[in-house]
Amino acid sequence: MAYQFNKIRVLLVEDNAHMRKLLKALLEAVGVRDIVEAHDGGLAWMAMKKEPVDFALIDWEMYPVDGLELVRKIRTDPDSPNPFLPVIMVTAHTERARVMKARDLGVTEFLAKPVSAQSLSQRIEELIERPRPYIRTREFFGPDRRRGRKGGKYIGPERREQQGA
C-alpha cells in the first residue's frame, strides 16, 4: 500500500499563479486532498495559525513577505504554531551561498526548480522517512545541518560549541 496522503494538510506558498497551480496539481496527483494555498509569506503565516498543517512547500522569492522570512518566523517566532514543521523550499536559486543561507534559517529540504514528479516525490519521501533531529543553539534553531558525513563522521564546520545553547 502507498502513503495515505489523504490524511494530511499541506501548506502551499507560491506567488506565481501558474507555479502554484502546477504544485497543487502535483500534490493532488500524489493524493493530497487538503491543500492550504497562500501567495506570500504573510498570508501563509495567518493561514497556518488558523489551521495546523503537516508540511509546507514554500517558494523563496515572494512579495511582500518572502519564503526565507516565513521560515524564520516558523522556526523562531514565539507565536509559531509549529517550530518543527517540515519545510520544503522550492527555488530556482541553486547557488551555494543562497542555499546555505536558507539552510541556516531552518529549511528542511530544497526542491530545485524546474520541478518534476520525481524530484517532488523524492523530497516528500525524505521528509517522511528521514526526518532530521532539530538543533537548538544560541544562534540557530532548525533541522540538523550536518549532512556532510563520510563514513559516519561529520566533516563540516564545528559551530555548536561556539554558538552555545
Binding site: 502507498a2 502513503y3 497551480k21 496539481a25 502535483l26 526548480k113 519521501e125 543553539t137
Partner: protein, 166 residues
C-alpha cells in the same frame, strides 16, 4: 519528545527529536509508480498553459532587457528583467524546455555576478532574452537539435565578445 544529550552539564546545544507525525499519518509504502504517472500526467496537462504564458512573458522579458540596455543603471528595470527570467528558468525544464531554463539561468547568474554592468555588458542579457523568445516561439523542446546548438553557440559567442572587450 526526546532531547538527546540536552541538559548535560556544560552542554552548549540541544538535540531534539520530535515525533514523526507525518509518518504516523501517511503510513508506509512510499510514493507508488501510479502516483508518479498521475503527477507526470498533471504536468503534461498544464504544458499548453505554460507555453502560452511563456510566449507572453518572454516577449515582456525581451522588451524589458531592451529598456535596461537603454538605462543600465535603472535598478527597477534590472529587477524586472531578473524576475521575468527567474520565473521562466524555474518552469521551462518542467515542461520539456530545458533551453529556457538554461538561458534564463545564464541571464540571472550574469546579473547576479555584478551590480555594475554597462550597456555593452548588458548585450549578453538581451541576447539571452532573445534566445528564450526564439525557443518558445519555435517550440524548441529538449536540447533543440541544430537550432538549440546554434542558439547556445550564439550566446556563448556574445559572452566571449563582451568578455574580450571588458
Amino acid at each position: 519528545m526526546s532531547r538527546g544529550s540536552a541538559g548535560t552539564p556544560g552542554q552548549k546545544f540541544q538535540v531534539l527529536n520530535p515525533p514523526n507525525q507525518l509518518k504516523a499519518k501517511v503510513g508506509n509504502g512510499g510514493v507508488d509508480e501510479a502516483a508518479i504517472k498521475r503527477m507526470e500526467a498533471a504536468v503534461q496537462g498544464l504544458r499548453g498553459e505554460f507555453e502560452a504564458q511563456a510566449k507572453t512573458e518572454s516577449v515582456k522579458l525581451a522588451a524589458a532587457a531592451a529598456e535596461l540596455l537603454r538605462e543600465p543603471n535603472n535598478i527597477e528595470k534590472r529587477q524586472t528583467v531578473y524576475m521575468l527570467a527567474h520565473e521562466l528558468r524555474g518552469q521551462g525544464g518542467t515542461y520539456g524546455y530545458p533551453l529556457i531554463t538554461r538561458f534564463g539561468d545564464q541571464l540571472c547568474r550574469y546579473l547576479d555576478a555584478s551590480d555594475f554592468l554597462d550597456a555593452k555588458a548588458l548585450v549578453v542579457v538581451k541576447a539571452a532574452a532573445d534566445a528564450i523568445v526564439v525557443v518558445i516561439n519555435n517550440g524548441v523542446a529538449g536540447d533543440g537539435g541544430d537550432v538549440g546548438r546554434q542558439l547556445v553557440a550564439m550566446l556563448d559567442k556574445v559572452v566571449a565578445q563582451v568578455k574580450g572587450e571588458a
